[in-house]
Amino acid sequence: MALTAMDIYKQLPKTNCGDCGIPTCLAFAMKLAQGQASLDECPHVTEEATAALEGSSAPPMKTVTIGTGDNALQIGGQTVLFRHEETFHNPCGIAIQVNTSLSEEETRERITTACKTEFDRVGMMFDLDLIALNDDDGSLPQAAQLATEVSTLPLVLMSDDPGSMHGALEACGDGRPLIYAAGADNFDEMAALAKEFDCPLVIRGQNLDELYELSEKAGEAGLEDLVLDSGARELNAVLQNQTIVERAAINEKVKPMGFPTIGFTIGNNEVEKIISASELIAKYAGIVVTDLLTRNALLTMVTARLNIYTDPQKPIQVESGVYEIGEPDETSPVLITTNFSLTYYTVEADTSAGNIDAWVVVVDTEGTSVLTAWAAEDFTAETIAKTIEECGIEEKVANKIAVLPGGVAVLSGELEEASGWNIVVGPRESAGIPTFFKTEYEERIAQF
C-alpha cells in the first residue's frame, strides 16, 4: 500500500530545519508521498525510520538482475496486473535450454546460435537473454565451464544436486548466474550456495503453499534476489498460479510472492510450445525457458514479447522528415508515410528488400498507422502537403512526384491540389512496393 504524507511525517524528525532543501518536514513528507523526493535527502532521518519507511514503500515486486556487465538481464519490478494501467516493465527474459548431455560440439553450436540470434523489428534489434544449462547427466560443472567461454549471455544453472551446482558456480566465477532451483529437499544447501556465490536463486515449490513457505524461509535467511517457480507443469495450472502469484505480489503486497517468476514452454511439438510461450509472455512470466531454437519459433516469441511489453500510452515513433533508403538521387521516387515506427520500418524494410533507392517523407501523425492517422485526421492532404513543403524534399528531387499509400487513395486529388505535386497511388501493403516499382511505376509517371 502506498504511504500517505502523514505516515511519512510521523517518522521524520519534525524539526523543520530545511536541510533537505524543503522548508518543513511536512512539505518534505508530501513530496515523498508523491514520489518527487527520496528519503535520503533528509540527513537527519533515523535508522529505524528509514527501515520502517523503506519496508512499506518498497516496490511490490523486486527487480532481479542476472549476470553482470552489458548483457546482464533485469527482470521483475512489475507494478500493475494489466498493461493498460501503466505498462509492464522489464520485458521477460527468453532463456534457451541446453542439456548438459549434449556433446561439446553440440553445446558450443547451440549456445553460439542462441547468442547470435537477433531480429530486426521497428528499427531495433531484439535478441535472446539467457542460456539455461540443464543438468541431465550430472556434468553441469563441465558444461558451465564451456558455457562461460562460449556464451555472451548470462546463465541459468539447472540442477537439483547441490554438488553439481557448487562445481558449476565455481566455474562461473563472478558471472552471477541464476541458480535453479531450491526445493523442499535441497533448500538449505541451495540457499547456502546462493549466499556463498552471491547469486539470484529460484525457489521451486510443488504447489503455491510450498512456494510461499520456501520463499518466506529464503527471506528469513537473508536472500533478497529470488525468482519463483510454482511447480505447475500443466498449462491451465500455470495460468492460475502465475495469476495468483502476481496478484498476491502486486495487489496484496505479500512479501514472499514479490518476486519475478520463471516458466517453461510445455508441449509435444514446436507449435504447442509456442502456445505455452505466448501464454507465459502474456501472463506475467519473468523468464520463459524453452528448448526451441528455430528462427520461426523465436521470431514469434520475441514479437509477442515486444507487443505485450510496449508501453500502451506511447506508440514507438520516428521523427518526421526526409529519410533515405539506399542511395537516392534526384531521379529517385518519393514515398509518403506516417511516423509510427511500425509503419515506417515496414515500408523501409520492404523498399530495401526490393533494392529500390528512394526518399521517404515521414509525416508526424503522433505515431499512428496510416489508416488510424487518416481516421483521426492527422494524415490529411494538409498535413502531408505541409510536411512536403517543410522537410526540404523539394530541393532533393527533379520532379515533383510522390507515392501515396494505397490505403488512403482517396486523398490523392486533394493532396495534388494542396501540394502542387503529382501523386501516384501505391499498393495498399508496403510488401507490394518492389513489384509496384518493377511493373507499374514508370508507366504511371509517364503521364505527368
Binding site: 494489466f82 498493461r83 493498460h84 531480429f119 530486426d120 523489428r121 504447489n207 503455491l208 503453499d209 512456494l211 510461499y212 513457505e213 518466506e216 505447475a232 500443466e234 498449462l235 491451465n236 495450472a237 495460468l239 492460475q240 498460479n241 495469476t243 495468483i244 496478484r247 498476491a248 495487489n251 496484496e252 505479500v254 510472492m257 514446436e270 507449435v271 504447442e272 509456442i274 502456445i275 505466448s278 501464454e279 502474456a282 501472463k283 528455430t294 528462427r295 520461426n296 519459433a297 521470431l299 514469434t300 514479437t303 509477442a304 515486444l306 507487443n307 505485450i308 510496449t310 500502451p312 511500425l342 520492404d350 528488400a353 498507422s369 481516421a375 501493403e429 510488401a431
Partner: protein, 324 residues
Amino acid sequence: MPLTIPKERWTAEVQTATIGATEEEGGTRTSTITIGGEQTLPFLHFEGETPNRPVIAMEVLDETPTGWPEPLARHYEDVWDDPAAWAQKAVEQFGADLICLRLVSANPDGSNASADQCAETIQSVLEAVGVPLIIWGCDNDEKDNEIMPFCSQAGSGERCVLGSATEDNYKTICASALADGHLIINQSPLDINIQKQVNILVTDMGMDLGDIIMYQVTGSLGYGVEYAYSILERTRLAALDGDKMLQMPMLSIVGSEAWRVKEAWQPEEDAPEWGPLEKRGIIWEVATATLFLHAATDILVMRHPEAVAYVRDHIDEMMSGQPV
C-alpha cells in the same frame, strides 16, 4: 494454508448468447453454440465459473480468394469456388464450431454481386452444414445496407449472427436482425466508448442484450495485437465490474489478420532470417489466437486448419483445468 488465494470480488458476469436454432426452435441447425457466462477472467477456475468454452468459427469467402499463400491455399483450392462445399469441408474435416461467411463478392469495387446472389449463397451454405452461421457483409456501408435485409431474410429463423453494425451504420442491419430473429455483431474501432455507444444504440432499437456480440477490431501479432489485446482485457474487466453495456461476448478475427502480414507468407528466399515458410503462417495465426484467448475472446474467426486444431486443443486444456 499459508497463502491466501487473492480472489477478486467481481460483481457481475458476462452475458450469454446462443447462436443457431434447431428444428424445435424454428430453424434447421443440427447444433447450436452458447458462449459467454464467464464469472472471471479467462480460465481462472480458482475464482469463478467459465460455463461455456470459447469457440472457433472458420472463415468462408463467397468468391475465390486471390493471393492466399500456398501453405494456406492448398487446404481450400479444391472447394474455394463453392462456398457450400468450402463450409462443408471446414465443418466435416476441420471441425469448425461455426462458419463465418464473408460476402466479399458484394463489394462494388469487386464483383459487385447482387443481394439475390448473396441470399442464394447463404441458403446453399445453410443447407450444406448443420452448424450455426455468421454472415458478414462486404465492408461497404451502402452496399451492405442494400444486401443485408435479403441476406437476413435468407437465414430467417436460424439465429445467425449478422455483421457488422457500427456507430454510423447500424439501423438497417439491426432492423433486419430483429425482423428475422438473428444476433448482431456490434463493431467499434478499438474504442471502448464507441463500443458502448453502438451497444446502446442497438438496444435502443429493441435488440436484446443476449443477442449482441462485440467486435472491437483486431490486429495481428506484430501488427497491432497489443492494442486489441488491451481493449479486450479492459472490456472484460468492465463487464465483470458490472457494466451492463459491455457485458456481451467478444469476437476476434484472427485468420485474415495473421495471414495478411508478411511474416506469414514471405518466401524463405526473401526472409531467410525468419525460418522456413511451411509452418510460419500457422505459428503466426496460433500465437495471435492464443493472445486473444487469454485476453477474453469468446469467438475466434480462423483460417488454417492446422492452426484451428492446435488452438482447439489449447481451449480443451484450458477448460479442463481444475481450480488450483
